[in-house]
Amino acid sequence: MMVEKRPFSTVIRHLVLLSGVVLVLFPIYVALVASSHPVENLLGRIPAWFGGQFIDNYKQILGSGMSAARSAPVGLMMVNSLIMALGIAVGKISISLISSYAIVYFRFPLRPVFFWLIFITLMLPVEVRILPTFQVIADLHMLNTYAGLILPLIASATATFLFRQFFMTIPDELLEAARIDGAGPLRFFWDVVLPLSRTNIAALFVILFIYGWNQYLWPLLVTTEENMYTVVMGIQRMVTATDWVPQWNMIMATAILGLLPPVIVVLVMQRLFVKGLIETEK
């Protein structure tokens, strides 16, 4: 570590960092404040301090939704988002664990070709894939189903690539020791690779849950019924509902609610998650 002794530069650094923190936390504060006022208070500017309708606003938005925008209750949206996010996270992790294990530990012809194909899919903008995929989902009558929401988003290569990188760091000798101990490929996967990947899986779960929770484009295409809407879609629709003055108190309350599950997941998984990300301490 570099130990600096000049107090002046220390002050400047602190100011810079503090302003960064304010920039990050300010929006959350604004959202909380706005969600505690009746809608009339928000027509001009956002008030500086909390209003009195905090509980009422949340109760209304959770239970019955924003009537003006003809939206479903946010509670239902949150359940939908939760199912989608969990499905995407669990599905992606399972598939990428298995496929990266195959890529790293099995030797077959054209293995590098497959590796590169997976790698290229990393690079494809979602937009290119999205329309043909929509066609397939529609043909399979999976519009407005959870399977239709989840399955197409599972097939991506990022997680595969990350697990591959991690598996590469498992020493060869561990596999060799397991072979001498008599463990076959499946046993080695189950007894050694999977437990060793525990922290990585946790870290990825957090990231993928948030990724899934924040999905917008695909749910927009694949759901047409209100009872399948997700929270993120709900916020967008409330903002862009053109035939009405935006009800900022409700929108902000929804935003705060939409923020809660990812934060909860992070807090619950924190210990494992941080372990998985930060392995070397300086």
């Binding site: 020493p171 020791a177 001498i180 101990d181 008599g182």
Partner: protein, 364 residues
Amino acid sequence: MAEVHLKDVRKSFGKSEVVHGVSAKITEGEFLVIVGPSGCGKSTVLRMIAGLEDITSGEVLINNTVVNDLEPKARDIAMVFQNYALYPHMSVFANMAYSLKVRGIAKKETRKRVEDAARILGLSDMLDRRPRQLSGGQRQRVAMGRAIVREPSVFLFDEPLSNLDAKLRNQMRVELKKLHRRLGHTSIYVTHDQIEAMTLADRIMVIREGHMEQLAAPTEIYEQPASLFVARFIGSPAMNMLEAVVDHDRLSVTVAGRINLRLRRPLSRPGSFTLGIRPEDLHKAAEQQGNAFQARVDLVEPLGSDTVIHCGIAEMEDALIARLPGSPRISAGDTILLDLDPTKLHFFDIESGARIRRTTPRQD
């Protein structure tokens, strides 16, 4: 316990052959050490015996069964790896028990075997710990224990001590030797450390660039190295090498063009040779007599028990290293008299590096 038989075992990676035919018969209970510099193919030989590498040609037999096509688990072997290869997420007990669990051995039997092995290795108190909570030496013992509980026919060791520091290495070496004396397993041990080879082995196999240079007992390897390479590789400080011309009487030798020696037993042929003399076979002489010659002291390394002297002869710098006992009062810049015993000289062919015999075999 078992016999291991290597029959002209070869290994190629693509077109390049890295092991050029190794043959040896390791008898029941023998401790064979395969030694050589890094990249010489010694680990490849071991891994072919273990079944971790395919055998390109030749045969490996364990207990008279050809095992070339058997999976590692079917060869009745156990292996200790350089980095121990312990499963980091399992306790010491689980590490040692894993192979028994895979083989479906009853829990009671497993517990008994693991506890027995732990007792032998002094690990009984740490069966619940994880590998990362152990010191290097303890991890090494767990790796040993994992091998012992399998009760294999053959133990394979792949440089098991090279991740330990000097003191611990010495200590674990002694433990390994005692363990082998106690259990009597057939063992094949790969190392690049000549001290481990000398002290552990019943027989040493010296490998150089995939060729077997010598296979013999440690004392024979040290006292009658079959080649220049073996002579230089075994022993520290390494054997001194000088050019020598042997007269037609096959008894008079001129070393480095200026020192004249007389052998007691004639060499098999006259001519130019590489002459080898070990540092501890050079002695400080009090006066000019016999084979004594003058040497200039370039550098003195006191070890406490001995003193290593780097000497120059005439214009040659670093010509000789002598190891003298104790702490003689010699400092850099001095000129001293060195004496040697002509029966301790080694002659090697300049081109092939092969050892040249004296006329009376087995007595040179």
